[in-house]
Point group: C2
């Protein structure tokens, strides 16, 4: 049965970011619809943002195309030029290797959600626009560094 | 501006199918959102079906993953096992090389629509479940044959 049982799909909460940025991801969940349906060639997630929550740090992808379709509530798409209000049925595309970081913010007092599709490319890197941070996606998971590739300060001290 | 202007996106009508199957595609349009947004790695289309219209001949993809999210109206997803009613916010996944053909039918008396995402793989082939038909996607466009690869009867006579 190809219809996806949303109640059974994996729900991700929390953040992959290192501190202190992980704390900014409160109020965000991601329902892994593509994984639930057995897809491997691209990811499909339903991201829900509580009032005040944000989708990510503002970022752009080196190798992966990304597409977003708003499904619920009111969101602000933030990029270099500023913020654009978006409503259900609005959509946006982010071609790979376009160095204009984006994220979605829920500035309203009600929940909001969007569907996000991203291709899966070996050697993917994402660069963060507002902080000195970059991530490489490896088989072992995400590896965060400064933009110049140097190590982040230890958080163990 | 990554937000897509739907009024400016390319709208496809008609059918790529050879006769007599092309006539079955009346009442179907496809808004090419991914193309409009400059995406190349996967396709994103908003398919609208008038009452009585169908999305395609029932088919399955050899190499390409596919995902569908219903955005409007009531649709029936038809596959080998029968029909499943789907509503806005319902979704379905069709992993590559799963030989169970699918299509969406608008059996209601109001318009219906869905977002469909498909990867783009070289050498893609699709096989049609209910008729003796197969298509190879080539650089020159789609090439339709019988399932055994033989030519279709000429329609010139």
């Amino acid at each position: 049965m190809p219809k996806i049982d949303k109640d059974a799909a994996p729900l991700r909460t929390g953040s992959i970011y290192p501190p202190p940025w992980d704390a900014q991801m409160a109020g965000r969940t991601s329902l892994r619809l593509g994984d639930a349906g057995g897809l491997t060639q691209f990811g499909v997630n339903l991201v829900r943002l509580a009032p005040g929550a944000v989708s990510s740090l503002r970022h752009w992808h080196l190798k992966e195309d990304e597409f977003v379709w708003v499904t619920e509530g009111v969101l602000h798409l933030v990029e270099d030029e500023g913020a654009t209000e978006m409503h259900p049925g609005d959509c946006a595309a982010f071609p790979a290797n376009t160095p204009n970081g984006h994220r979605f913010e829920n500035r309203s007092d009600a929940p909001a959600a969007f569907l996000v599709i991203g291709s899966r490319m070996p050697g993917e890197e994402a660069t963060y626009s507002d902080v000195d941070l970059r991530v490489r996606i490896t088989e072992a998971g995400p590896v965060f560094t400064r933009r110049d590739g140097s190590a982040l300060p230890s958080t163990e001290e």
